[in-house]
């Protein structure tokens, strides 16, 4: 039984790190701020939640898994909304993509 739990949690953790790897690649691949924040913030949240759920499965029913579930809920609330405020204030302060073609048409 314990072996099975360990195998399941290992699968979860490896999948989570794979998600985070994709997020890290996305930071460097895209060339403007808006596409970067779109790709990385979502993938980062998903990766964190998968890794933490893997840790919770590994420890069974205990204080440790209860605290990881609390941490998961906090990350689920905070992480996307943090990126939302970042994006919103970037737009408010007048940040634009210089290279994008659509902006010129809007300006005209």
């Amino acid at each position: 039984m314990e072996n099975l739990l360990h195998i399941i949690s290992n699968i979860f953790i490896v999948v989570g790190t794979f998600f985070i790897l994709i997020g890290v690649i996305a930071i460097f691949k895209f060339k403007d701020f808006f596409s970067r924040i779109l790709s990385t913030s979502k993938i980062d949240t998903v990766g964190a939640i998968t890794i933490l759920s893997g840790l919770a499965i590994r420890h069974g029913i205990s204080w440790f898994s209860a605290k990881t579930i609390l941490l998961m809920i906090l990350i689920l609330i905070i992480n996307p909304l943090k990126s939302h405020t970042l994006l919103r204030y970037a737009v408010i302060s007048g940040h634009k993509n210089k290279k994008a073609k659509g902006n010129k048409e809007v300006a005209k």
Partner: protein, 316 residues
């Protein structure tokens, strides 16, 4: 592992040194102190790591409010740009000179460092006897509430003096006029929702840290800092300044007196009885809990006064 994190920290600190703009400098400082707190965890001291993680956020908030106050919007823009045009040094001067100075001073310092492994007699004494002498599970808490309680008293006194200095230096008479402006967060429904959820959680978590201070990592200082952050969140949501500063100040004073009385009760009882005094474990636990609670309330009061003073200056 630890060495890798430490070199990461050193790297971040070097970037703090080379930054020209003030804002990016403070971003790098925030990053470096957060990584330093991770390093404290790997050095085996989670209490200090907690205090540092809260301190990093507090220090950035203090710097940001300081900028907001006195440079105004247009002045600040000039202030940031001005720095770039003024100081132009070549890379040779920027990298070689600091490296040379650091190495020279380090070579002077080298002789004073301990070469042989340290004698760990005192450490073993504390670890073996703390839970019977003072009580509780956390040896760090046992030291700053039991063996070295004088340090804690003088720390509380220093915090009191700092609050008095801030209150004295900020010329604000306590009357706040609301000027139709609302904070940026208030316009945004989603951020408002987030802060509303986060603020109660921080308070609950601070109370949890204070209550469990004797058993696990945490204690009065860290819990007090977490509780004080609630009032910053409250300012972010409602944008009002209605906390009775004078009453909070009086509460802080009385609690300082209570801390001194509580500590001296413990110490003087030790003088008249056996050394170390043999308390019952229940009495020890009650003492630790009350002391943690008092210190937590005192730190929370001090930092709310301090931060609200800053906010008040901005509005005045």
């Amino acid at each position: 592992m630890t060495t890798t994190i430490m070199s990461f920290w050193l790297f971040c600190n070097i970037f703090v040194l080379f930054q020209k703009k003030l804002l990016s400098m403070i971003l790098w400082l925030f990053l470096s102190s957060i990584i330093a707190s991770l390093g404290f965890l790997f050095l085996g001291s989670p209490d200090v790591a907690m205090a540092e993680a809260t301190a990093s956020a507090f220090v950035t908030i203090i710097f940001i409010v300081c900028f907001e106050n006195f440079f105004g919007i247009k002045n600040l823009q000039n202030f940031i740009e001005e720095e770039n045009s003024k100081t132009r040094e070549n890379i040779f001067k920027k990298i070689i000179l600091p490296a040379f100075v650091v190495l020279c001073t380090f070579a002077l310092f080298m002789n004073f460092l301990p070469q042989a492994p340290q004698d760990t007699y005192l450490k073993n004494l504390y670890i073996l006897r703390a839970s019977t002498d003072v009580g509780g599970q956390n040896v760090v808490g046992a030291i700053y509430l039991g063996y070295r309680v004088y340090d804690t008293i003088f720390e509380a006194l220093l915090l009191l003096i700092a609050v008095v200095a801030v209150v004295h230096l900020s010329h604000f008479d306590g009357v706040y006029k609301k000027d139709g402006k609302q904070s940026e967060v208030k316009n945004n429904a989603i951020s408002l929702f987030t802060v509303r959820i986060v603020a109660p959680i921080t308070v609950l978590f601070g109370i949890y840290l204070i209550a469990n201070g004797a058993i696990t990592a945490g204690g009065g200082f860290q819990g007090g800092l977490a509780v004080a952050s609630f009032f910053i969140c409250r300012f972010l949501i409602f944008d009002i300044y209605d906390i009775p500063i004078k009453k909070v100040n009086k509460l802080e004073d009385t609690i300082f007196v209570a801390v001194v009385i509580m500590a001296s009760l413990m110490v003087f009882h030790g003088f008249f009885g056996e050394i170390p005094p043999n308390y019952l474990p229940i009495a020890q636990n009650i003492y630790l809990f009350i002391m943690n609670l008092l210190i937590g309330i005192k730190v929370a009061c001090g930092f709310t006064i301090l931060l609200y003073r800053y906010v008040a200056i901005e509005r005045n």
